[in-house]
């Protein structure tokens, strides 16, 4: 049975555990696409999750994360493209895939009239694990998620966070090689979140399984994931470790926070004007605070300007104006910044392409495809692609640029063109351009 061989391979791969070694990935998708009637939920996804890593899928609600997960489990059939999970095709062989992949669905539920243990026992039976073995396994996973003392109460008395933990236990009962968690930390209090993230880390470290988790909570993804994939409108617009992403998307991320003690004699807008006038400051935005004894600004340093010099200039300016500094700190490029920038850049690309298409004088109906065409002419590639109506709507709107703080004209600072690289020349035969009325 090829399945057994695949297990052996992945287990062997874990012990090697070198990230660069040719380990068979547990998840690999090629050009995976899911189209609903008028909506491309997942668009040409290429994804890889290797044994022993935590991969975070990051994206807004509706970006296609759950659809991707359902395709990986064989619960939804892809429109085109292919996926390999634990070495198998989930569309062809869903049972074998589901036997080896633990899945925690978004807003997981349990049979309220059964106890936690009974719920897990049902799962174990459905996985064909015999009774004695299942009971031992259940004791173990309940211990791992710290639910041992509530194991024999009905699950309708559980809190949301306990249900979530029970959901993780439920996914672990079958002893999976891969754990797929859809929004594992929503509706959990901060301490519970830390516990769950610790648990995931421990599971990966001690048992060598791989975790694919989706979330829209950036901080958590940042803290626990080895690699991150940024999802927007069905496409993976960035992928890699946090450092790699920061290099790709964060080179103009220098941002300072300046707090100044309020002074009745001075007008805050005058201070703002002076901050704005400092050389190297792209923009100073006043942050409104509840208490009035301190004024706070967020300062964006212009790309290319030396950030320490800007800090010095700010200090000098404050000293000259005899204002008292309350806070001066540099914000590291957070995943939030990276994420916002990545999404904005993807949109901007679309908008620019749309505009250039309009300049050439093409009919509006061709915008969707010609937008991508323009993107590719810059990248020197050509392909046929699918139109995404949502982004086409963005592109053809009266104001093509989203009103986000991050959408400035693209600088010529050798910014790597992430968006281009995802347009691969090969496309499925069915991926022709969609015409819009």
């Amino acid at each position: 049975m090829s399945g057994g061989a695949a297990v052996a391979r992945t287990r062997a791969g874990r012990s090697a555990s070198g990230s660069a070694s040719p380990v068979e990935p547990l998840v690999r998708t090629r050009n995976l696409t899911k189209r609903y009637d008028d909506l491309v939920a997942v668009d040409g996804l290429d994804l890889e999750v290797r044994p022993g890593e935590i991969f975070g899928l990051l994206g807004q609600n509706g970006a296609g994360k759950t659809t991707t997960i359902l395709m990986l489990l064989g619960l939804t059939e892809p429109t085109s493209g292919e996926a390999r999970v634990v070495g198998l095709d989930p569309a062809r062989n869903p049972l074998e895939v589901k036997r080896r992949v633990g899945y925690l669905p978004d807003s997981v539920g349990f049979y309220g009239d059964l106890t936690g243990r009974e719920n897990l026992r049902y799962t174990a039976r459905l996985n064909g694990i015999d009774r004695a073995e299942a009971d031992a396994r259940i004791v173990e996973v309940l211990g791992q998620v710290d639910l041992t003392n509530r194991a024999d109460t009905r699950t309708d008395t559980y809190s949301r966070g306990m249900l979530q933990r029970l959901g993780i236990a439920d996914a672990l009962v079958k002893d999976p090689a891969l754990l797929i968690l859809d929004e594992p930390t929503t509706a959990i209090d901060p301490i519970g979140v830390v516990e769950i993230l610790d648990l995931l880390r421990r599971l990966v470290r001690e048992h060598g399984l791989a975790v694919l988790l989706s979330s829209h909570l950036l901080g958590q993804v940042q803290s626990v994931c080895d690699r991150i994939g940024i999802f927007a409108a069905g496409q993976l617009i960035g992928r890699g470790s946090l450092d790699q992403l920061a290099r790709q998307f964060g080179e103009e991320a220098a941002e300072l926070t300046v707090g100044v003690e309020a002074d009745r004699a001075t007008d805050p807008s005058a201070v703002e004007a002076r901050l704005q006038a400092i050389d190297g400051v792209a923009r100073a935005t006043r942050v409104s605070t509840v208490q009035d004894n301190e004024w706070t600004w967020h300062i964006r340093v212009r790309a290319g300007a030396p950030e320490p010099a800007v800090r010095g200039a700010i200090l000098r300016m404050l000293a000259d104006s005899s204002l008292r500094l309350a806070d001066l700190s540099r914000q590291p490029p957070s995943l939030e910044d990276i994420y916002r920038r990545a999404v904005a850049r993807a949109r901007l690309d679309g908008a620019q392409a749309a505009r250039s298409a309009a300049e050439v004088g093409k009919p509006a109906g061709a915008t969707t495809t010609s937008r991508r065409g323009a993107t590719d002419s810059r990248g020197g590639r050509e392909h046929a692609d699918v139109g995404d109506p949502r982004r086409a709507g963005d592109a053809t709107g009266p104001s093509p640029r989203p009103a986000s703080a991050d959408t400035r004209p693209r600088k010529s600072t050798g910014m790597p063109s992430r968006v281009k690289s995802r347009h691969r020349p090969q496309r499925g035969p069915g991926a022709g351009p969609e015409t819009r009325p």
């Binding site: 459905l126 073995e133 173990e140």
Partner: protein, 350 residues
């Protein structure tokens, strides 16, 4: 870690063992078929559920009430009844003239759809509402296992209760009235039970279909009950309206017109599962019924006077209602497979 490894080994071994392939590309499958695991769990649920006790209470009342009134009726008419075909079956068929409770067979015919609906209306959307459906479907079972298991469990519970109730009524009747059933009576009773179970399976699978189609349990109940009311209350009115339109039979209509009208009425009525079930029940319980079709007065007279007023044997009665039985089975299969296909095409996402 070491404990986990010890646990892991057998699981992996089991995974390596090639399971018997089932339906080719669908791949290997766990030895204990998924549907039976689902059915076992649903059975346990059903037996602990409040609706099981409500069902037992209602059916207990039905049994007690009908046996009380029908045995009275049989006693009072016992003098004339000597020589009637089967006194034993009369127990299920006869009600007292002005008793508040209709006879056993019609009460059961009335209740079976409701019971079927009660056990099926929230089969799938209940799982959806609880959020357990994605979790259930991400286990290594086929999707149809879920529906199969649920319908099988519901049917098993209903069938058990129905058989027990019928046996109870028969037993009490035997003791109270001192009638001993013939072998043929017992056979007729058993075949009626089988037909009833198929009939209940139709309602169960229709309710399951509704539970797949409608996200909310309330809509599902409403539609199921709507169909039930439609085929029991309004069908007669609709049928006669359509029949009079297609084959008008006025005040001075000819015999042909009247027969045509009656034939149309019957044809249309036979689209309704409850009508089919009624016909099958009456014929199975009453060996003296020789046809379910239209009888002209002349034919009736001939039947009564000419020849012997012979009774039908069980196989002849079965032959008479075979089309009805097949039709009920067909309706059951149709609604079941509709539920099945719809569920397979549905998105898992809550």
């Amino acid at each position: 870690m070491s404990a986990l490894d010890r646990l892991r080994r057998p699981v992996t071994d089991r995974l390596r063992r090639p399971a018997p392939a089932r339906r080719g590309p669908a791949g290997p499958r766990a030895p204990g078929a998924g549907w039976s695991i689902v059915a076992a769990k649903e059975l346990a649920d059903d037996l602990l559920n409040a609706r099981f006790y409500v069902l037992i209470a209602i059916l207990g009342l039905v049994g007690a009430g009908t046996i009380y009134f029908s045995s009275d009726a049989i006693r009072s008419s016992a003098s004339q009844a000597s020589g009637t075909p089967s006194l034993f079956l009369l127990m299920f068929l006869l009600g007292q003239q002005n008793s508040p409770i209709p006879p056993f067979y019609s009460l059961i015919g009335f209740l079976l759809p409701l019971i079927g609906i009660a056990f099926g209306f929230d089969a799938i959307n209940g799982e959806r509402a609880q959020g357990t459906l994605p979790r259930l479907l991400s286990q290594p079972i086929h999707r149809d296992d879920v529906i199969n298991g649920k319908v099988a469990a519901g049917l098993a519970v209903i069938a058990t209760i129905l058989v027990a109730l019928t046996a109870l009524v028969a037993g009490i009747g035997i003791i109270r009235l001192g009638i001993t059933p013939s072998a043929e009576d017992v056979l007729r009773l058993i075949s009626w039970l089988v037909v009833s179970i198929v009939y209940v399976a139709f309602w169960l699978s229709f309710a399951t279909l509704c539970s797949v189609a409608f996200r909310r349990a309330a809509s599902s109940v409403l539609v199921s009950i709507g169909l039930w009311l439609g085929v029991t209350l309004f069908a007669e009115f609709l049928v006669s309206a359509v029949a009079s339109f297609v084959a008008p039979a006025g005040a001075n209509a000819s015999t042909e017109d009247l027969v045509a009208n009656a034939n149309w009425s019957q044809l249309l009525s036979q689209l309704s599962p409850s009508y089919l079930y009624q016909e099958a029940t009456v014929v199975l319980f009453n060996p003296s019924i020789r046809t379910v079709g239209v009888i002209l007065p002349s034919q009736a007279a001939q039947l009564q006077t000419g020849g012997v007023p012979s009774l039908l044997s069980i196989d002849q009665s079965m032959l008479l209602v075979w089309p009805q039985i097949v039709a009920i089975v067909a309706l059951t299969v149709i609604s079941f497979s509709a539920a099945y296909v719809l569920f397979l095409r549905q998105e898992v996402r809550a």
